[in-house]
């Protein structure tokens, strides 16, 4: 922790800071929507922002990979005209939790893998991420420490951490330090501040303890043993196949590609929309064959896609522990409970082998 990379903002000045951001950029931040729901949306004043919030209904993924995104514009009128396009805008995202930053890192991994998703990369370049550290769990659904997303590491421009009567701010990019200079509200941090941050993080290690009765590093082995676990069969009868769990997940990026034509039927656009492995036509091919017809297979795919497959592909777990899938599921399928059942089932099997 180099003290030069840290700044201090008095708590009383946080609204001035946000309003100053608004004065020179479009800003999106968590806003309370009622019934314990929050959403990232554009704000016009600091008063709208909720500094204490549980993960928003939809993660900030929506700014990086919009629900609907134009890929091509075409016009078949004269000679077929085809133009690949990207839509972007300058945006400051304020108040992003570390779990959601982890989610953006997952998107980044996939979309900057070859061939690069040029549209995503352009859009990302225009977004500034200002993080906000959680000092405690948001609620009982979170499993951010299990996946290691509860302490800020990388993936942001600035990171705000609330301490006694001030925020300590880590500057992680030149975009971030530009903002610090522009707003002119910050003081240099001193060693005492760094010490206080260290104390907070040490305390976090105590209060953020493992939410699932195993360790992250055992996940590959656990999942290698669990493909035929009865846990999946149990989900078969529970899951409604509604796809909510994937729609709200910050690491789900699967999509469909569709087209829309104007009234002349000659010109239009091709776009992509979020799609879900839980929904029916996802894996169907010509001839009506569905490679994941059963709900058990679809739920299993969802879990393996988070905790196993992408370790092979990208060396990363694709779950940020945000808890959104469990919070939103009408059938009350709970990610932490599913993992716990898997562990129990797998342990039972191992013991049986020894007896």
């Amino acid at each position: 922790m180099k003290v030069e990379q840290y700044k201090i903002l008095e708590k009383s000045k946080i609204n001035d800071f946000i309003n100053s951001l608004i004065s020179f950029s479009k800003v999106a931040a968590p806003v309370y929507k009622g019934y314990n729901n929050y959403a990232f949306q554009e704000i016009k004043s600091a008063d709208e922002v909720s500094l204490k919030y549980i993960p928003t209904i939809i993660p900030p993924k929506k700014y990086f990979m919009p629900q609907k995104e134009t890929l091509l514009k075409f016009d078949v009128n004269e000679d077929l005209k085809i133009e690949p396009v990207v839509e972007y805008e300058n945006l400051v995202l304020f108040g992003v939790h570390t779990c959601d930053i982890a989610g953006i890192k997952c998107l980044n991994m996939v979309l900057s893998d070859k061939p690069k998703d040029t549209g995503y990369l352009i859009r990302k370049k225009h977004i500034t991420i200002i993080g906000l550290e959680c000092n405690d769990y948001c609620d009982e659904y979170a499993s951010c420490s299990f996946v290691g997303a509860h302490i800020p590491t990388t993936g942001y421009d600035l990171m705000f951490t609330e301490l006694s009567d001030y925020f300590i701010v880590h500057i992680h990019s030149s975009k971030g330090s530009d903002i610090i200079e522009k707003t002119g509200l910050f003081k240099p941090a001193e060693t005492v501040h760094i010490e206080e941050l260290k104390a907070l993080r040490n305390n976090k290690l105590k209060i953020f303890n493992n939410e699932v009765p195993t360790e992250r590093r055992y996940l590959p082995d656990l999942f290698d043993r669990s493909f035929n676990a009865s846990v999946w069969k149990e989900l078969e009868t529970k899951c409604l196949s509604c796809g909510n769990c994937t729609a709200v997940c910050p690491t789900c990026y699967c999509f469909d590609i569709k087209e829309e034509v104007d009234l002349t039927l000659k010109a239009g656009e091709r776009y992509r929309v979020w799609f879900s492995c839980q929904l029916d036509p996802f894996a169907k091919v010509a001839g009506g064959i569905d490679f994941r017809r059963e709900r058990s297979a679809r739920q299993r795919h969802r879990f393996y896609r988070k905790f196993r497959y992408h370790i092979d592909r990208y060396g990363m777990i694709f779950c940020t522990g945000c808890g959104r899938c469990s919070r939103t599921c009408m059938a009350k399928i709970n990610l932490k409970e599913v993992l716990t059942s898997l562990i129990k089932e797998s342990e039972a099997k191992i013991w049986r082998k020894w007896l």
Binding site: T70, L71, L72, F74, V76, D79, L80, I82, E83, P84, V85, V86, E87, Y88, E89, V110, L111, D113, P115, K116, D117, T118, G119, I122, F227, N228, Y253, C254, F255, D256, I257, K258, E259, V261, L265, K266, G268, R270, R272, F275, C277, P281, F282, A283, K284, V285, A286, G287, I289, F291, R292, A297, H301, Y304, R305, R308, Y309, H310, D312, R313
Partner: protein
């Protein structure tokens, strides 16, 4: 919201003109295609392209011509739905959009110097035709070549003229079968698996390339293993739902593999322990 054109988008299309269309069966047509800017499609047998009809949609289709042909390429399309039916309505001279090639294709450098056993079920002959034509064009690089082709009825026989030629060649062993014969049919009747025990191959020296409908694989693999073929010399090409063709949309995922990027061609060894592959 600013909108800009990005020429290097992986979704960009190349304009291609249909040079010729030939009806092969009631449901299948062969399209001869060339790029408008006279560049050529550099591909390997077994690879596929994404074909676009603007305003209608985009689909993955195997390239079925020889990769040595620099003037045009061919695809064979079965009319099953929206895009494929619209393709069937096009005429020579019409323009389509193409991106690709995608996927890994058959490992030609590995196969060369070996015997080749081709097993095609129905439309599976399309990607395999590319491999067959390549092998014929480079006949001396391959040992024995066996081609087994099976389809449901004689009316569904693809590339009938070429099949006739292949069956006459002395340097190729060709056998064909139909599930259900008609009165004019003089050849074999029965599933494609029934042809395998009869082919005379040296399993250690042979690569088998198999493409067909999903149900076919399990049975064919069983026969090939019974023949003594090593698991890493059985090559299979899979069909999955594909939208992006480049490992992003997640549609074609088979466990930890993307069929579009890691495949569509896999060795049996690679996928034999994967429950969702077969």
């Amino acid at each position: 919201m600013a909108q800009v054109v990005i020429k290097d988008s992986p979704y960009n299309l190349k304009k291609a003109r249909i040079l010729d269309i030939k009806s092969l069966t009631e449901k299948e047509k062969l399209f001869k295609i060339a790029f408008e800017n006279s560049s050529w499609l550099d591909f390997e047998p077994g690879q596929f392209i994404m074909v676009s009809l603007m305003g209608i949609g985009e689909i993955p289709v195997s390239i079925c011509s020889s990769p040595l042909n620099r003037h045009y390429f061919e695809i064979c399309v079965r009319a099953v739905g929206k895009v494929t039916n619209s393709l069937h309505k096009l005429n020579a001279g019409d323009i389509i959009g193409v991106r690709g090639p995608y996927g890994n294709g058959f490992p030609i450098k590995m196969i060369e110097g070996h015997d080749l056993l081709i097993i095609a079920g129905g439309l599976g002959l399309a990607p395999l035709r590319s491999l067959i034509l390549y092998a014929i064009d480079n006949r001396r690089d391959f040992g024995e070549i066996h081609i087994l082709f099976g389809c449901k009825t004689p009316g569904e026989l693809l590339f009938a003229d070429e099949i006739e030629e292949w069956s006459k060649r002395l340097d190729i062993h060709f056998a064909c079968t139909v599930d259900r014969a008609d009165p004019d049919w003089k050849g074999n009747v029965g599933l494609i698996t029934s042809l395998i025990p009869g082919v005379d191959i040296d399993p250690a020296r042979t690569y088998a390339a198999v493409v067909g409908p999903p149900v076919m694989y399990k049975f064919v693999i069983k026969e090939l293993l019974a023949k003594g073929l090593p698991v890493d010399q059985i090559l299979l090409s899979f069909e999955r739902h594909m939208k992006c063709g480049m490992g992003k949309c997640g549609r074609c995922q088979i466990q930890n593999l993307y069929c579009c990027k890691d495949g569509p061609v896999f060795t049996f060894k690679e996928i034999m322990d994967m429950a969702e592959a077969l």
